[in-house]
C-alpha cells in the first residue's frame, strides 16, 4: 500500500502543473459558458451564440479553415507523391522534409509580414505582375486582407504539415500491393483508385481534420495581417478578452467553448482516422 502511494507521489508535480495551468483554466471557461452572472445554470449563453455577428464569424472561420485544409492536403499530397514515387531525383526529399519542418513552425506575426511584403499593395509579386504582365491584381479585386488572402497565407504552414504527415504514409504503401495489382491486370489509375487511395483514405481524412483545427485556432497570423478588419472567431475572441466587445462576458465564454468544441471534434476525427490508418501500416 505504501508502495502505491510513493508511486503516485512521483507524478504529482506533473498533475499539479497540468491541473493548475491547463485543465482548471479550460474548465473555468467551459463552466462559465453555462452560467448566469449570479452563478446559476443556463443555456442562454449558448443560445446567444446564434446572433448574426457570431454566426458570421464562425462561418468565415470555418470557410477559411476548410479551404486552407483542402488546398493544403491537395498540394501537400502532390508534392509528397512527386518526391516519393514521381521520378523526381531522390536528393530532393531531404531538403523538402527539412524545409517542411521549418515552415510548419513559421506561423504567427512574421508570416503575416512575409505575405504583406510579397502580395500586399506594394509587395514584390504584386509589383512584378504589374510591371511584367500588366496585371494589377488589386484592380481585379484581390485583397490580402480577405478570405483568399488569409487562405493563401495559411497554406504556408498547412502544406508543409501535410507533407510531414503524409510522406511516411505514402512510403508505407507496400510494393507488393502494386505488383499484385499489376499481375492481376490493373492499370495505374485502377491501382490508385481501388487499392492505394482506399488505404490512404483514413490518413488523408485524418490529416485534413488536423489541418482544419490548425488553421481554426490560428490567432497571431490573422491578427497581424488584418488587425480586426476580418472578424474570424479567434480575432473576435481576442477583442472580447481585451475589451468585452460583445458587451456580455458570458457570451465570450460561450464563444471560447464553441471554439474548443470545433477544434476538439476535428482532433477527435484525426485520432480515429489515424488508428484506422495504422491498421495497414504494420
Amino acid at each position: 500500500m505504501k508502495q502505491i502511494g510513493w508511486n503516485w507521489l512521483g507524478i504529482l508535480p506533473f498533475f499539479a502543473f497540468a491541473l493548475l495551468f491547463l485543465v482548471l483554466p479550460t474548465m473555468n471557461i467551459v463552466v462559465g459558458a453555462f452560467r448566469t452572472p449570479d452563478g446559476g445554470f443556463t443555456l442562454a449563453n449558448i443560445q446567444g451564440l446564434a446572433s448574426p455577428r457570431i454566426i458570421d464569424s464562425f462561418a468565415i472561420s470555418i470557410k477559411i479553415s476548410l479551404a486552407s485544409a483542402l488546398l493544403g492536403c491537395l498540394i501537400g499530397f502532390a508534392m509528397a507523391a512527386a518526391v516519393v514515387f514521381g521520378g523526381v531525383p531522390g536528393w530532393l526529399k531531404a531538403p523538402l522534409m527539412t524545409f517542411s519542418g521549418v515552415a510548419s513552425n513559421f506561423a504567427g506575426v512574421p508570416l503575416a509580414f512575409a505575405f504583406i511584403a510579397t502580395l500586399g499593395r506594394v509587395g514584390l509579386v504584386t509589383m512584378l505582375l504589374k510591371q511584367w504582365f500588366g496585371i494589377n491584381i488589386y484592380a481585379m479585386g484581390f485583397n490580402l486582407l480577405s478570405f483568399w488572402g488569409l487562405t493563401l497565407t495559411y497554406l504556408f504552414f498547412q502544406i508543409p504539415l501535410m507533407i510531414l504527415i503524409i510522406t511516411p504514409a505514402l512510403e508505407g504503401l507496400k510494393r507488393e500491393w502494386r505488383e499484385a495489382a499489376e499481375v492481376l491486370g490493373a492499370s495505374t489509375s485502377q491501382y490508385w483508385r481501388m487499392v492505394a487511395l482506399p488505404i490512404l483514405f483514413p490518413s488523408l481524412l485524418g490529416t485534413f481534420a488536423l489541418l482544419f483545427a490548425n488553421s481554426f485556432g490560428a490567432v497571431a497570423t490573422a491578427y497581424a495581417l488584418t488587425g480586426s478588419s476580418l472578424s474570424i472567431v479567434p480575432i473576435m475572441l481576442f477583442a472580447q478578452i481585451r475589451g468585452d466587445v460583445l458587451q456580455d462576458p458570458h457570451l465570450g465564454y460561450a464563444m471560447a467553448f464553441a471554439m474548443i468544441v470545433v477544434t476538439g471534434l476535428a482532433n477527435l476525427a484525426y485520432v480515429i482516422m489515424r488508428t484506422r490508418a495504422e491498421r495497414w501500416m504494420r
Binding site: 491547463l22 506575426v109 475572441l237 471554439m259
Partner: protein, 260 residues
C-alpha cells in the same frame, strides 16, 4: 508524363514557398528609395524596444525549456518505470495543448488568476511573468514530452535504475546524472522546438500584457512599412537556426544509437 506532373508539383510548390521569402528579403532592403540598403535592419537593431523585447523573450524561452525539462523528464521516466498503465492518460494530457487553442487557455488564466482570486498572479508583473512562463510550458509540453518519451524508449530504464540503485544512488542522482544525460539528444531537440515556438509567441503575451517579442513585432507591423519585413527575416533566421540545429542533433544522436 508522370515525371512531368511531378516536376510541375515540385516547381509550383517551390515557387509558392520561395516567393514570400524572396519578397520579404527584397522588401526589407527597399527602405531607401532607389537603392538596396540595410537601413531597415539598422533601424530595427537600434530600436531599444527591439532589444528589450527580444531579450525578454529569449529569457522566457530559456526558462520555459528549464521548466519543461524539470516537469517532463522525471514524469516520463517515472511513468515508464513505475506506472506504465498510466501512460495513455499522461500522453492524452500532454496532447491537450494541441487541441485547446492557446487563446482559450490564456482566457482561463485571466479569469482564474485575476486580482480578486485566491492566487492573484496577474496582480503583479513578476506574477504575470510566472503565469506566462507556465503558459509557455503548456505550449511546449506536447513537443517536449514526445521527444523525451521517444528518447526514453531507446533505453532499458528498469535495468539502468536497478544498477544505479545497487550502487547506492538516490532518485535525484538517478534522474540528474543517469537518465538526463542519456536522453540529452531528445531533450535538446524538444528544447530547440520550444525555443522556436516561444520566441515569437503572440497571443498569450499580448493578452497578459507582457513586453514580449511577438506583441512588439505586431505593433511595429501596424505602424511601420519596411522594418516588419526585416523583423520577419530575422524571425525566420531564428526559426531556421533552431530547427536546423534540432535536426542536426537528432541526426547525430540517431547515428550514434545505430552505431552502438
Amino acid at each position: 508524363m508522370k515525371r512531368f506532373w511531378s516536376w510541375a508539383a515540385i516547381i509550383f510548390g517551390g515557387l509558392y514557398f520561395l516567393l514570400p521569402l524572396i519578397g520579404t528579403i527584397e522588401f526589407s532592403l527597399r527602405m531607401r528609395r532607389g537603392e538596396y540598403t540595410l537601413d531597415a535592419y539598422r533601424s530595427v537593431l537600434n530600436d531599444a524596444a527591439f532589444r528589450q523585447t527580444f531579450s525578454y523573450s529569449v529569457i522566457m524561452a530559456l526558462a520555459t525549456i528549464v521548466l519543461g525539462v524539470l516537469i517532463v523528464v522525471p514524469t516520463a521516466y517515472w511513468v515508464r518505470l513505475r506506472l506504465p498503465r498510466l501512460r495513455p492518460v499522461i500522453e492524452f494530457i500532454t496532447l491537450l495543448p494541441l487541441v485547446i487553442p492557446a487563446i482559450v487557455v490564456v482566457f482561463g488564466y485571466i479569469r482564474l488568476y485575476n486580482t480578486s482570486s485566491i492566487l492573484p498572479l496577474t496582480g503583479t508583473a513578476s506574477g504575470t511573468n510566472l503565469l506566462l512562463l507556465f503558459g509557455y510550458a503548456t505550449l511546449a509540453l506536447p513537443y517536449m514530452y514526445r521527444a523525451v518519451d521517444t528518447g526514453l524508449s531507446t533505453l532499458d530504464v528498469r535495468s539502468l535504475t536497478e544498477a544505479a540503485q545497487s550502487l547506492g544512488a538516490g532518485w535525484v542522482r538517478i534522474i540528474g546524472r543517469l537518465i538526463l544525460p542519456n536522453v540529452l539528444g531528445a531533450v535538446m531537440s524538444g528544447a530547440f522546438l520550444s525555443f522556436a515556438i516561444v520566441i515569437g509567441e503572440f497571443t498569450m503575451a499580448a493578452l497578459l500584457n507582457r513586453p514580449a517579442f511577438g506583441p512588439y513585432m505586431q505593433l511595429l507591423g501596424a505602424n511601420r512599412a519596411y522594418e516588419p519585413a526585416a523583423l520577419a527575416v530575422i524571425a525566420f533566421a531564428v526559426t531556421w537556426g533552431c530547427m536546423g540545429i534540432m535536426q542536426l542533433i537528432s541526426r547525430l544522436f540517431g547515428v550514434r544509437r545505430t552505431a552502438k
